[in-house]
């Protein structure tokens, strides 16, 4: 017999016999009506858990991880407001159900059953996944990746304070809201979680507002691995900046009282708190997990004896809110009701085609108020003495700086965050003077943690900001990459386009940096950014393109809610000359602020039809260097700058190379998994031209004199071109 049946039968028998587990009597401010509400939410949650197992048996449900044992979370929900954005642990069905009772017109049981049934009518994910979540209830859906929602919860909490001074057009949260974020006891150990606790504490420690309530649902175990006794309490009791609260989640009166105290602390002090809630886990980890295979049966049964629903019936009866007999009736009526609703929900349609599944990868565009840009006076003020040089050719880093200045002047909701972006102005000076121009609130010098930087950006985006986070070096994206891949990119997908986290992530990277160089600062792999559905990867090769592309990226984020990565080639930041010392050929004038390069438009230099060199970034620069030698050997050549590395602008590439007899792909990223693989495949499919590629080797980049040895050079490009066109 499955544990869910045993727990169910125990409940029926013991509630009828008034055979209750021992526990504290009810006390505190929980009103009797609210206590009954909590119990009703708990019964609904329990019935949904049992029904999800039944649905799976019938092949009509697809996911059974449940909330049984964690029903006390309904009491936490009632201690909060439905406008407090909630990032939920997967065991928080009771929280969501209780919150639904706070917002008129919700049909929570039907909605959750549609999600269990993976029906396309599921109001949160549109049938893509069983997730908790609701736009109306301010519950963004979460992925199953443990703890990955904690960094963005920190970001969302930070965004409440930020919006108070500078409210974005698309802000969602009221000024007095708090953010709620829950997780399991095993999850609390995850480095992502630890980073978020640390970031929250670090922020609050300096008295910056961070209204965030963490709730650790401590059932003492993560799948089969026990949390050492006392570990959570002892790890979190004395964290700087983080106030610790504790309650027994089996006691809804105590839970409500403590959650109210914790929420009041967070709301009035605008500081983070950690509520440690004791829960139990009934029926093992998920559907197929049998706890008795790794725990002694007596231990499993001892936990089951403390079924929170039995504690609730006891306390409701003791407090006079509801006689036990009526509580039993509610349990049975609810179970019956949920079964009936499930019978309807399972008849609803499912997604069928790839196009239907994919329809939510890209969120819908959002209407934005038109802006006329800054006044001449505001511009003059911001640019200061830079304005005198604005008509002179400049290096790329300067042009990016000016572009950022104009964008921040035009869109007050743009904020930047990163390591050393503010006071220092970035390690390459790209964000210099922006703090003086726009203040520290919009130029955030973060702590040294890439997951926290991206989490801050994601969270702020969820409250209407347009974050421009910066990762100092491409190599350091990798330990935080899941925040893009698993979180930012999937949010529209799992919310059917209802939630989004648009941003422009600036990353300095790629090779060819003389002297400094080396893998640590010149990583040359973009593979992790190229297979993420919905993510746009842009890479300029010169200052004017950088300015125009960055403006387009800002528009894509602001108006189309897109997730954009803007990869800035470090070696080109200071590049002045192309062929000879002081020729100044790689500097450009600042393009007028309304000039942009539309998403997907490629660059073209020349129109020779013997050879098209298709490249990007440093490769474009090197190809220009190689061009005289190639043309002088009689090969009529054009150079195509791909500019947009993901998704590849395939049609534009095909059009730009039309009629060319040969195509040489020059790719500074690695041979394996590099951009050239995709370009080769595309031209192979789309073009009759003879193809060849020149790529970096499958190596890390060395520092010192061999800094460029593994990558294409002007000489190797010339040679490859001549060989191809022989």
């Amino acid at each position: 017999m499955g544990r869910s049946v045993i727990v169910h039968e125990n409940f029926l028998r013991r509630a009828a016999a008034r055979d209750f587990p021992q526990g504290a009597p009810p006390s505190g401010p929980l009103a009797p009506e609210d206590a009954v509400s909590i119990y009703r939410a708990a019964c609904t949650s329990r019935a949904l858990d049992r029904t999800s197992r039944e649905m799976q048996r019938q092949g009509k449900g697809f996911y059974t991880i449940g909330s049984s044992g964690h029903e006390g979370l309904a009491a936490v929900a009632l201690a909060l407001r439905p406008t407090d954005m909630a990032f939920l642990h997967y065991r928080d069905a009771a929280f969501q159900i209780a919150r639904a009772g706070q917002v008129p017109g919700q049909t929570i049981a039907y909605d959750m059953l549609l999600s269990f049934a993976a029906s396309s009518e599921d109001p949160i994910s549109g049938g893509r996944h069983k997730v908790l979540g609701s736009k109306a209830l301010n519950i963004p859906p979460q992925t199953s990746t443990i703890a990955s929602h904690l960094p963005k919860a920190v970001g969302a909490a930070y965004a409440i304070g930020a919006a108070k001074k500078n409210r974005p057009e698309h802000a969602e949260l009221p000024d007095d809201a708090i953010v709620y974020c829950s997780f399991g006891d095993a999850s609390a150990n995850h480095s992502t979680a630890q980073g978020a606790f640390n970031a929250a504490g670090w922020t609050a420690y300096q008295n910056l507002p961070l209204p965030l309530l963490f709730v650790c649902e401590d059932n003492g175990i993560g799948i089969s691995t026990k949390t050492p006794t006392g570990w959570i309490a002892n790890s979190f009791k004395h964290r700087p900046g983080l106030k610790y609260f504790h309650a027994n989640g089996l006691d809804i009166f105590e839970t409500y009282r403590t959650a109210q105290e914790a929420a009041a602390y967070v709301r009035t002090r605008r500081k983070p708190a950690f509520l440690h809630l004791k829960t139990i886990r009934l029926y093992g980890h998920a559907g197929a997990d049998m706890p008795t295979t790794y725990l002694p049966r007596e231990e499993v049964e001892a936990e089951e004896a403390h079924d929170p629903l039995l504690h609730m019936v006891r306390q409701l009866d003791q407090s006079g809110a509801l006689p036990a007999a009526q509580a039993l009736e509610i349990y049975n009526d609810t179970a019956d009701r949920i079964t009936r609703i499930a019978a309807e929900a399972t008849t609803r349609p499912h997604l069928k085609t790839a196009a239907e599944v994919m329809a939510a990868i890209i969120p819908p565009p959002r209407p934005c108020k038109p802006t006329n840009g800054p006044s001449a006076e505001a511009r003059a003020n911001a640019f200061g003495s830079d304005l005198k040089q604005i008509d002179e050719p400049q290096i790329m880093s300067r042009l990016i700086n000016w572009t950022l200045t104009d964008l921040m002047l035009t869109h007050p909701e743009i904020v930047m965050m990163g390591e050393d972006v503010g006071r220092k102005g970035g390690v390459y000076g790209v964000t210099q003077k922006l703090t003086q121009r726009f203040g520290q609130a919009r130029m955030i010098d973060t702590l040294l943690d890439e997951q926290s930087i991206l989490g801050l950006a994601i969270g702020m985006a969820q409250n209407g900001f347009i974050p421009f986070p910066e990762i100092q070096f491409l190599a350091y994206l990798h330990n935080a990459e899941d925040q893009l891949r698993g979180e930012a990119a999937t949010l529209p997908f799992f919310s059917n386009g209802q939630y989004s986290n648009p941003m422009v992530l600036r990353i300095a990277g790629l090779g060819y940096q003389k002297g400094f160089g080396g893998h640590f600062h010149n990583d040359n792999s973009v593979a992790v950014l190229r297979d993420i559905p919905g993510l746009i990867l842009a890479c300029p090769s010169n200052g004017a393109d950088a300015a125009k592309m960055l403006r387009e990226c800002a528009r894509l984020a602001r108006e189309e809610q897109r997730l954009v990565v803007f990869l800035e080639p470090i070696a080109l930041y200071p590049m002045r000359d192309l062929h000879t010392d002081k020729d100044g050929l790689w500097m450009q004038r600042y393009p007028a602020p309304d000039e942009t390069i539309p998403f997907g438009e490629v660059g073209q230099h020349g129109d020779g039809d013997d050879l098209a060199i298709v490249t990007f970034g440093n490769g474009n620069y090197l190809s220009h260097q190689a061009l005289p030698a190639i043309t002088s050997s009689g090969i009529k050549t054009r150079i195509i700058d791909t500019r947009w590395l993901s998704p590849l602008p395939k049609d534009a590439l095909t059009a730009a190379t039309k009629g060319c007899k040969h195509i040489l792909i020059v790719d500074e990223t690695r041979h394996s998994g590099g951009v050239a693989e995709a370009l080769m495949a595309h031209f192979h499919e789309a073009s009759p031209a003879k193809l060849a590629r020149l790529t970096a080797t499958d190596s890390f980049i060395a520092t010192g004199p061999a800094y460029a040895a593994t990558m294409p050079s002007a000489a190797s490009i010339t040679q490859a071109a001549k060989e191809l066109c022989k």
Partner: protein, 339 residues
């Protein structure tokens, strides 16, 4: 036992053919109590109104008469129900007061006090009027664009000087709009006539469920104490689709909603039916009380809620013929199914 949601109708349902309905009222003492209360208030008794030789629009549709009449007919029907288990109660507009009583949140006597007081107050002030217009075509196919269009017309009208016109009731495939005379007239001029009847003014109706009723709401709160209210015995679904559950209803909140939001904000009957269907999945929707006009709105609301895959009038009719989903107690043959 089949599970059913009970639906209490609103104003405008007691028409000529309903004369004599109270003959069916199952509790003579209760009816005598209502009549005594009416006499004490110098109002014509329900029995007298119901047994009048002829139906008088000017008399029978007045708020101070119609409300209590409809309430009594509805309550009587709910008391007469057999062979079904009522799993939730809801209502349309004034039917909310009946629903409160049918669900046990008001005793039958207190329900009478609330409905008669509010009906009388509405009649005394008679602020503004209502007009009804469909946004579904005759096949009842969902058409959200047309609904948005009509609301946009109203939104534009209400910006004109001395014009008010706002949404009053979302009534399945119809919108009931309410406002002042100028607003109502402007709407009549703005939309092409449809189905030979629409846009249709509702005689003797005020601008219910709009801000214009704020004085009536205030008078209602002054006249009716919170102590009249109690925990519902059955789940109760309001004009936002919100469910008030037995045991977890805060009386003060129910009172505030009933004599506040419910009076001055739009009433979403469609949402009420959506919640009834989706959260209770009943075998039957039973419309109590006089008249048969609410059936269409219930069916349309179910279509708009994608209930059981119904997407048109034909779908509903097929379902209804095969295995009735909707029972109007005003129709004798359907009434027989549940009494």
């Amino acid at each position: 036992m089949r599970k059913a949601v009970l639906i209490c109708p609103g104003r405008g349902t007691y028409t000529k053919t309903e004369l004599g309905s109270l003959a069916r009222f199952p509790d003579r003492n209760l009816l005598a109590h209502f009549d005594a209360r009416r006499t004490a208030l110098n109002q014509e008794t329900l029995t007298a109104l119901d047994s009048a030789a002829t139906y008088s629009v000017s008399k029978h549709t007045r708020g101070d008469n119609a409300s209590a009449l409809i309430y009594a007919c509805t309550l009587g029907d709910s008391l007469a129900l057999q062979v079904v288990e009522i799993v939730a109660v809801t209502g349309n507009s004034m039917g909310w007061y009946s629903a409160l009583a049918c669900a046990g949140a008001l005793t039958p006597q207190n329900g009478f006090e609330v409905v008669n007081t509010m009906g009388t107050l509405m009649q005394q002030s008679l602020i503004g009027g209502q007009i009804i217009h469909p946004f579904l075509d005759e096949n009842w196919r969902p058409n959200p664009a047309r609904r948005a269009e009509l609301l946009a017309i109203a939104a534009e009208i209400t910006t004109r000087p001395d014009h008010t016109l706002t949404l009053s009731i979302d009534l399945g495939g119809m919108l009931v709009l309410a406002g002042n005379e100028a607003g109502l007239k402007a709407f009549e001029a703005a939309v092409p006539p449809e189905q030979g009847r629409f846009p249709m003014r509702l005689a003797n109706h005020a601008a219910f469920h709009t801000a214009l009723q704020a004085p009536v709401a205030a008078q209602g709160r002054a006249a009716l104490p919170e102590t009249l209210f109690q925990q519902p015995q059955k789940p109760l679904i309001d004009g936002r689709g919100q469910i008030w559950w037995p045991g977890s209803t805060r009386k003060a909140a129910l009172y505030d909603y009933t004599l506040g939001h419910q009076v001055t904000e739009p009433y979403d009957f469609t949402a009420a039916i959506r919640s009834a269907a989706r959260e209770f999945a009943p075998d039957l929707f039973i419309i109590a009380g006089p008249g048969t006009t609410l059936g269409g709105a219930v069916a349309q609301s179910l279509i708009l809620s994608h209930w059981q895959g119904m997407a048109s009038k034909a779908d509903f009719q097929t379902r209804q013929t095969a295995n009735p989903l909707l029972v109007s107690m005003g129709l004798p043959e359907q009434r027989a199914l549940v009494t």
